[in-house]
Subunit: 259 residues, 2 copies
């Protein structure tokens, strides 16, 4: 297994680069060069090519600083480059595109935010608690919506919670395959909730546009759509309520009841 001083990023599309530590918080391995290598094999060559001035970790850290200080809207590739003392395009050797940078950032946050605290013993309750923990951690950061749809978001730091969900479902009687499918369903529901809510909040903040929904609901025909007409007046209030946990419980209950 080659380790040594693997490149930070799978360059123009060839090196496998399966260093499992590149993602999390490994020190940048800067100050490389003449330091002795522990690894018995792999002859620790002197790293060919132009030496990098910045590492992927530098990029992520600088990005995090910007987001913390000035919000996610201030995070542009140009500003990031300026903060790092390089050019925008130099970043693209450490990060495939901005979206990957955001995923990395999310992972960075998750590493600090999520803490394995005492979870209940009962399987169903454990699933609920783990899912809610993921949800709350993500929902706290609105900019996450831009990244959330990552199919493979659940990386590194959050995996422990995924494990809890899958394990809980298994303990409740589901097969491994069913447990994975159940986890996915929970993930769809969770991601959907956050995304829909975040978008709605963004719209409300950005503008006082008549929400289009009011527009549509105003012209509702009680004869054709009686139920909707009946709740039209309360719709805004009802949908503003946070019912994530209720829905989650319903979903998990249904998953477990289904065998």
């Amino acid at each position: 297994m080659p380790h040594a001083s693997a490149p930070q990023h799978d360059a123009p599309r060839d090196s496998p680069d399966t260093t499992p530590d590149a993602a999390a918080g490994t020190p940048p391995a800067k100050a490389r060069g003449k330091a002795g290598e522990k690894s018995p094999r792999s002859t620790a060559r002197k790293a060919v090519g132009r030496p990098p001035r910045i590492s992927r970790d530098d990029v992520v850290r600088a990005a995090r600083r910007i987001v913390d200080d000035a919000g996610v809207d201030a995070l542009t590739m140009r500003r990031l480059a300026t903060d790092l003392g390089t050019t925008p395009m130099a970043l693209y050797h450490h990060v495939r595109d901005k979206e990957e940078l955001l995923v990395l950032l999310l992972d960075d946050y998750a590493a600090g935010a999520l803490r394995p605290t005492g979870l209940p013993d009962d399987p169903v309750e454990r699933v609920l608690a783990a899912a809610a923990a993921i949800h709350d951690a993500l929902a706290a950061r609105p900019w996450i919506a831009q990244v959330l749809t990552a199919d493979d978001l659940m990386a590194a730091s959050a995996l422990w919670y995924v494990e809890q969900v899958v394990d809980g479902l298994t303990a409740a009687g589901l097969s491994p395959a069913q447990a994975v499918h159940g986890y996915r369903a929970i993930w769809y529901y969770t991601a959907g909730e956050i995304l829909v809510r975040a978008t709605a909040a963004r719209r409300r903040a950005a503008d006082d546009r008549p929400t289009y929904r009011e527009h549509v609901f105003a012209g509702l025909d009680p004869a054709e759509l009686p139920r909707l007409s009946g709740v039209a007046a309360d719709w805004a209030e009802l949908t503003a309520q946070d019912t994530y946990r209720d829905g989650l419980r319903a979903l998990v209950t249904g998953l477990v009841a289904g065998r």
Copy 2:
């Protein structure tokens, strides 16, 4: 209630513009002018200001043509303007921004795609069928992901299905408020599924990047995360399966069981 020849778009932020027909498929009301008005009051004035060369409907129609012919990626404001024989900025008087245009487009598609066909009588089955119909109609068009998070997406054409869901849940014993919350849960789940899947598909198509998940799953510690390690090999296959309906049934079952 003023009607007459209301402006197509709430201009620089003042006119209420609550014409309930502006959204769907009302004829552009072009060829306006000397035609007699039915409305008894509202003296049908001669429309002040520079006469528009294009209507909002023209914009949506042209956009639809582009999407149908060349895909959603080809839909740029510049191209749209060229097709209509105007300038990009002229579009912004009929559409707030590109996102609103996409919402309008989606509505346009929904009007044609969704057809109220025979739904089951059993409340739960009806909810399932209605939700699945929405899901399938949306999932068929990948570009929808960009718009889907609209909190108020369920406009005009799709409302009939929303009605079916809320009505079915009510018939199954839920209170009106619970039914709305239930609908929302179903919507979160549905939107999340489509979004996550669409994004995953896009990534897979765009590039053969090692999915980052493989990356993470490769370095899994079986001692710490036994369940995930156990299914790691099958993860890709399991998550590729379409289990939307299974999860939906579980959710609805749980919602109904919860009273």
